[in-house]
């Protein structure tokens, strides 16, 4: 009872604080906007040093070298961005943003459902557009996310959203884009509270667990071939995997597991699969490439998983995979993943210190991600015809010293770069000014 009471109190407190901070979504683009003179980082590896970027009705109409092209800008809102940098909006895939507000407050957690097989569970309806954590992404250039449920063998279905909306429905870029599976582990951990060695041991149930998964795929296929007169929601949700309308995201880290997962998808004719995590994918990069399987690579800022690993292994994984020709994008799950998602550009920056070029690193959080998620027709690069989801930074946006945004646009709408945090910053800076 006492527990519930504290929870209620916490909830009330929470509600009362939530009410003041959030940013009002921007209105539709009405006027054509031209950004002039900026270094444009296209997202596909190319750079235009003195660029002219024009967008209208939310769509990019022009991306050109301003020193060559002569275009009449009359009637447009002109942003002089000389010396600044323009980037396509960064995309954080495989994130639980908006599903959890405060990790330790259970009442704010909506990221994992009970049950082992939950393909029918849809993340997007729980996605909180008013989240203070989500709005803190935008000042760092992270403008799009794939909202993904957690837990279970099959966690559920994700949806891709943009980060400036009144409601989840308005936020959707692509609904129910993929199903997320957690591949069985080759290792299991000892239960130290029962006096077992807490170290990792081979998982004796691995084969059984893979067989269960296979059986689930068989059942799904059988169901979807039948007349479905009696509805089975989970099995029905699996249909998209077989007709190619949904991607299968498989969370798997170890070399053997990755191999097994890729072979599993081939055998089951699952049209598009994506490796998520992929810690040891570098060991079999050629095999991954041969099978044209893309990788949403684990957070760059991690400790190596084995004591004997190279200290910089997590920093250089992207380089190894990219060099082998694998399509790679960066994800960020792990400790405090939601608030840390705003560090996505710095994850990419770190891969540059460990071998990639800056433009290659940029691809890992823009165009490659869009391709892997299947939204590259509209997002992921500064390309004519795509949606104007982009931002202007004072300097190199992959370096925290210079990732300082002056403008950001989602579908041409100029969004607020304020947040709960910037407001507090200003309020308290003001407090001390008045005291002086």
């Amino acid at each position: 009872m006492r527990y519930i009471k504290t929870k209620i109190v916490a909830l009330i407190l929470l509600c009362s604080t939530i009410t003041f901070a959030q940013q009002t979504p921007a209105k539709k683009q009405t006027k054509t906007i031209a950004i002039t003179g900026a270094t444009a980082h296209i997202g596909n590896g190319n750079v235009i040093d003195h660029s002219l970027i024009i967008f209208e009705n939310g769509k990019i109409t022009t991306v050109v070298d301003a020193t060559v092209a002569k275009i009449d800008l009359t009637g447009m809102d002109i942003i002089d961005a000389k010396g600044k940098h323009v980037y396509p909006g960064f995309i954080i895939p495989n994130t639980a943003l908006g599903l959890v507000e405060i990790d330790a407050v259970r009442a704010t957690d909506d990221d994992r459902e009970v049950g082992d097989y939950n393909p029918h569970i849809r993340s997007v309806i729980a996605y909180n557009t008013e989240s203070k954590v989500v709005e803190s992404m935008r000042p760092n250039g992270v403008l799009i996310g794939q909202i993904t449920p957690r837990g279970s063998r099959i966690a559920g279905s994700s949806s891709i959203v943009q980060f400036d909306a009144w409601n989840w429905e308005d936020a959707i870029i692509k609904a129910d884009d993929g199903i997320h599976m957690n591949w069985p582990n080759n290792f299991s951990r000892g239960r130290w509270w029962l006096g077992e060695d807490p170290g990792l041991k081979p998982n004796k149930k691995y084969t059984k667990q893979v067989t269960e998964l296979q059986d689930y795929i068989n059942q799904s296929k059988a169901y979807n071939n039948g007349n479905k007169s009696i509805k089975n929601l989970p099995l029905e949700a699996m249909q998209g995997l077989f007709n190619g309308s949904k991607r299968l995201y498989i969370n798997v880290d170890d070399e053997k597991g990755i191999t097994d997962a890729i072979n599993f998808c081939k055998e089951n004719t699952i049209k598009s699969m994506v490796i998520v995590g992929g810690r040891e994918a570098y060991k079999i990069a050629k095999f991954v490439k041969q099978n044209n399987v893309p990788v949403l690579l684990q957070r760059v800022h991690l400790r190596p998983s084995n004591t004997d690993d190279d200290y910089d292994l997590p920093f250089k994984l992207a380089k190894i995979l990219v060099d082998e020709g694998v399509l790679v994008a960066l994800e960020g799950t792990g400790q405090m993943e939601r608030m840390n998602a705003r560090n996505l550009p710095f994850y990419a920056g770190t891969t540059v210190a460990y071998g990639l070029t800056k433009e290659q690193a940029l691809q890992l959080i823009t165009l490659n991600t869009a391709k892997i998620l299947g939204i590259d027709a509209k997002y992921g690069s500064l390309t004519e015809g795509k949606n104007a989801t982009l931002f202007i930074s004072e300097g190199d946006a992959l370096d925290m010293r210079t990732n300082i945004l002056t403008h950001a646009f989602i579908d041409g709408r100029e969004i607020s770069l304020e947040s709960h945090q910037t407001k507090l910053w200003k309020r308290y800076s003001e407090k001390y000014k008045t005291q002086d």
Binding site: R2, T6, A10, L14, T17, E101, I102, D103, A104, V105, K132, V133, N186, F187, W192, W193, D197, P198, G199, L200, K201, P202, D254, E255, K256, K283, H301, L302, R303, P304, S305, N306, T307, D308, D310, Y311, D312, Q335, M336, R338, M339, N343, F346, G349, T350, V352, A353, Y354, L398, D399, M400, R401, T402, Q421, T422, L424, W425, Y428, S429, Y432
Partner: protein
């Protein structure tokens, strides 16, 4: 086998009735006193490991040795046993045994809240202190186990209850299966036993950590002394027992080389030299182990090879585990080489049957046989102060001895008998003829050979003709052999049987029974198998290579410690952190571990010149809030744990040390966790990778303690509803109470009256006297202000608020108080109290004039604190120079070590980092990390180490494959994973 023991028992019980105690009534016959001697003659007698009598006589009577020598006169009333050609050794002693003592049962109950109070009255306040326990009260003589031990060569064990931190006294028991406790109990109060592990019989939560157990022992010794002086009015049976046990040998179960050093430290501080049970890994830090001067008890449970057939599983096997397999058998040899006194134990072995093979393995790896015998006889006897009674065959000792066919440490040797207190247990008949060898016989005109191998009385046979080999079985008993072997026609499953008697020349005489029932005479001639022994020996001497140690003994450890150098950096961009600011194209000379010169065109004849053109040289990063390199982080058993110190549990093997060096970190403060409002004392380290733990700790270290506020100390985020405080209101009162008590304690101390030393209050007193600084885990403005007000009330200052995520809200008050802020760059949203945490916090506090540091609290983030510092440029527009100070000079100031480190200034310690780029850039990498002129990380050397690690692992995997192919047992692979410790981490082993 069991049958055989039973028959022996029957035989010997009848003898034992002769020795009933003289004052006992007798109703089953007349009193028949046996006054005969027993003389074992013509034996090679090991009176002690280095006093050996060739062809001597051992004379015993009433269970004791009367005389031994080459020419002693044998009394007429002697029973003479002639064992010519055989050897006599003292029986072995195991002084770390749980023989006959039932394993204590785990306390039941699963309440949601931990239990804080003791579960009993009249004893010490902590249930895990049980000096009043006595093994004798629980002793239930286990004949079966005794027989196993006798078979392994043991005659005496010192047993105790393996449970709790103080475990009470042991009992010295002779493994005499034929008499009762009246004879076999040699000492019912033999040694007191201790450990760092809690009792399973109580759920009392304190201590939850090794450092807590250490603190508890220290306080216990003080309390015992106080009690002995009559200052405690109430009854404490634990302390009374402890004081009574003081005169006993104190044996400490440490179980690892790191804990051996910890136990010895506690002992030394209290004037006690513990005898310490090691972990078999002492060789990894042998100099430090030797320096303890402790006698050790050493287990020989050497790890089996890992099963490396599965390539994927093998890839997660750590070099340190592979080396343990390769190196651990050398531990006894290395102890011997270093003149460390030690006894061996069967402790930790799955079965006593493994004892001999493991011991032989240690001997194969260089342990001398003389030392092995000493470690099993005279050494343990001496540790217990019982050298006159056990462990040798000197006159007056118990007649505890082994009769063997030869060298007791040879694989082929047969143990015939183990005598304890003059009572013999027979494993092999002394007269059994050794029929192992080759036999020839003919049957139906065909010539057969039969080789007999294996154990003396349990041999194996192999029957062959020129062409074929036949399946066969053999039994051998009382000079008779029975053999059965298959016929040529293998489809039929028919057997030819032989029964034969062994004659004086070991030839076999008897009959053969054919499958059809017809009988023939059988005669086989014996010939000694040639060269078998030699061949086996040859095999054994091709011993595997023992891989060299490194410090620490894991991947990236140093085989030879890097040395202090004179280094000259040329043309660097130097971030001085002093008023000179950032200097371009500047030289820096490092000499004798200090920064010697900064300037242009420097030169020094003895210096190694490093071209630093285009690179940046900075002071090393200092992490104010770290939890790496520690074996415990939280003592969570009580709401104050000021008595514990992280310095007790520094872990010099943590790979995080090396990884932090690779991120440019040179100094850290390991803070206690945030489980309680008053936490434990800190350890300030320099990350001198490869050095032993105590060398990492700062010399003349400033004293720190962790305090904590908010959700963690209220235990808001887990199921605990009993412990005070549950609210921020309670936290304040707890502090006020403790500081008041500390003041009262001080008043008493100063009054000259006797007082009980209290380690917890002593620590708090240091705070009041401004000798110890507080680094307080804090989030919310209300509590931050509260603690400043409490401190002001007691006339001292808080030194640092760590985390301090709402510091920006009370920066003016913090400035007025004079406290520093050590914060995260951008963490928030992980719990309710960080809802208003903002990444501009550092900037606002800095702008208000507060000394600001950015810390990690995380073994991953600490590898790139340069990036975290750079975030304050983005969030709040801090200048690059100031941002850099957030992770160097400012934490040095907060830790009161800025006179030694934190900037590049002539005379300061040469703790510097060479970066590939501007250190605040996301593109920067540390290339060299130097502490006091020693290069502990070098990006090129790291490259070479990676190669060497790969090579060594491949070789070891190959050796393990060979071991498996030889038929040796293997163990499944487990993956080594060092847990990343945070504020809320608790020791596993204490649960």
């Amino acid at each position: 086998m069991i049958k055989k023991y039973l028959s022996l028992l029957v035989l010997l019980c009848s003898i034992s009735s002769l020795t009933a105690q003289e004052y006992f009534p007798k109703n089953n016959g007349v009193v028949a006193t046996n006054t005969n001697f027993t003389a074992i003659t013509n034996a090679k007698i090991y009176v002690t490991p280095n006093q050996i009598i060739e062809n001597g006589t051992l004379l015993i009577k009433d269970g004791k040795v009367v005389a031994s020598g080459a020419s002693i006169s044998i009394p007429k009333n002697s029973n003479i046993i002639d064992i010519s050609g055989k050897s006599v050794y003292p029986s072995f002693i195991d002084i770390y045994s749980d023989f006959g003592v039932e394993k204590p049962k785990r306390a039941s109950g699963s309440g949601r809240s931990p239990q804080f109070d003791a579960g009993r009255t009249g004893f010490y306040w902590n249930d895990h202190i049980m000096p009043e326990n006595k093994a004798i009260d629980k002793l239930n003589y286990d004949t079966k186990k005794a027989t196993d031990l006798l078979k392994a060569g043991f005659g005496v064990v010192n047993t105790h209850i393996h449970d709790g931190i103080v475990r009470g006294s042991g009992t010295l028991v002779a493994l005499n299966n034929y008499e009762g406790n009246e004879s076999r109990i040699l000492d019912q109060n033999s040694a007191q036993y201790l450990s760092f592990r809690k009792s399973v019989t109580s759920r009392q939560s304190y201590p939850t950590s090794t450092m807590g157990a250490m603190a508890l022992l220290r306080q216990l010794y003080v309390d015992a002394d106080w009690y002995a002086k009559g200052n405690i009015k109430t009854k404490d049976l634990s302390i009374e027992a402890l004081n009574k046990n003081k005169s006993l040998v104190q044996i400490f179960d440490a179980g690892s080389r790191a804990n051996v050093l910890r136990a010895d430290k506690v002992g030394d501080e209290n004037g006690i030299q513990y005898t310490i049970l090691g972990g078999g890994d002492e060789y990894e830090r042998i100099n430090e182990i030797k320096a303890t001067n402790a006698s050790l008890i050493i287990p020989i449970n050497f790890p089996k090879a890992y099963d490396v057939e599965n390539v994927y599983l093998t890839s997660s096997l750590a070099l340190s585990d592979m080396r343990a397999w390769n190196q651990k058998p050398t531990n006894p040899k290395i102890l011997e080489d270093n003149n460390i006194n030690f006894a061996l134990t069967t402790h930790d072995l799955k079965s006593t049957k493994d004892f001999k093979s493991n011991l032989l393995n240690a001997i194969k790896h260089g342990l001398s046989k003389e030392k092995a015998l000493e470690a099993l006889t005279t050494a343990p006897a001496k540790i217990l102060g019982k050298s006159n009674l056990i462990g040798s065959l000197q006159n007056g000792s118990f007649a505890n001895f082994l009769i063997t066919s030869g060298d007791v440490f040879d694989k082929e040797t047969t143990l015939y008998e183990n005598w304890v207190q003059g009572k013999q247990t027979i494993f092999e008949n002394l007269n059994t003829k050794d029929i192992r060898g080759d036999y020839k016989f003919s049957l139906n005109g065909e010539q057969y050979t039969m080789s007999i191998k294996g154990e003396l009385s349990k041999p194996k046979s192999e029957i062959k003709t020129n062409k074929d080999t036949y399946g066969s079985t053999i039994t051998y008993n009382d000079d008779w052999v029975n053999v059965a072997f298959t016929t040529k026609d293998s489809t039929k499953q028919e057997f030819i049987r032989i029964a034969a008697n062994v004659d004086a020349n070991k030839n076999l005489n008897g009959k053969t029974i054919m499958p059809n029932g017809s009988e023939r005479t059988f005669y086989a001639t014996y010939s000694k198998k040639e060269d078998v022994k030699k061949k086996d020996k040859d095999k054994e001497t091709t011993t595997e290579k023992t891989y060299p140690l490194s410090y620490p003994n894991s991947a990236y450890g140093f085989k030879t410690q890097p040395k202090q150098e004179t280094l000259l950096f040329k043309n660097a961009t130097v971030w001085t952190n002093e008023k000179e600011g950032v200097l371009q194209h500047t030289d820096v000379l490092i000499k004798n571990g200090k920064i010697a010169k900064i300037g242009q065109n420097l030169s020094d004849g003895s210096a190694t010149v490093i071209d630093a053109k285009g690179k940046h040289l900075t002071a090393g990063i200092i992490d104010e809030h770290s939890h790496i390199a520690a074996a415990s982080i939280n003592e969570a058993g009580q709401n104050s744990s000021a008595e514990v110190t992280i310095e007790d549990v520094v872990d010099d093997t943590d790979i995080s040390i090396y990884r932090n060096l690779a991120g440019g970190v040179t100094s850290i403060q390991i803070l206690h966790g945030s489980a309680n409002p008053i936490g434990g004392r800190s350890a300030l380290l320099k990350l001198k990778w490869g050095q032993p733990a105590d060398q990492l700790i700062y010399k003349n270290s400033p004293k720190f303690i962790k305090f904590a506020l908010g959700e963690n100390v209220k235990q808001s985020n887990w199921q605990s509803f009993e412990r005070f405080p549950q609210t921020r209101m309670g936290v304040e009162q707890l502090y006020v109470d403790y500081f008041n008590r500390a003041k009262e304690y001080e008043a008493l101390k100063k009054s000259g009256k006797p007082y009980r030393k209290d380690y917890e209050l002593e620590t708090l007193l240091e705070i009041l006297n401004k000798e110890r600084f507080i680094s307080c885990h804090s989030y919310v403005q209300s509590e931050i202000n509260m603690l400043m007000k409490v401190a002001e009330r007691f006339n001292f200052n808080i030194n640092t608020f760590t985390h301090i995520l709402e510091g920006y809200k009370v920066a003016d008050k913090m400035k007025a108080h004079g406290v520093g802020g050590s914060t995260f760059s951008d963490w928030w949203a992980y719990k309710y109290e960080v809802n208003d945490a903002i990444p501009y916090n550092a900037a606002i506090m800095h702008n208000q004039g507060i000394v600001v540091a950015i810390n990690s609290d995380d073994g991953e983030m600490s590898r790139r604190l340069n990036q975290e510092a750079a975030k304050s440029i983005k969030y709040g527009g801090i200048s690059e120079e100031d941002a850099w100070k957030f992770v160097t000079l400012n934490p040095a100031k907060l830790l009161h070590i800025d006179n030694r480190v934190g900037s590049i200034k002539v005379g300061k310690d040469a703790d510097v980092v060479l970066w590939s780029d501007n250190p605040l850039s996301i593109y920067a990498k540390a290339e060299k990390t130097i502490i006091e002129g020693v290069t502990y990380f070098d990006i090129k050397r790291d490259e070479a180490m990676r190669y060497a690690i790969k090579k060594e692992k491949s070789e070891l995997i190959n050796l393990m494959m060979q071991a498996k192919n030889k038929g040796l047992k293997t163990q499944p692979i487990k993956k080594k994973e060092k847990e990343d410790l945070h504020c809320d981490s608790v020791d596993h082993e204490q649960h």
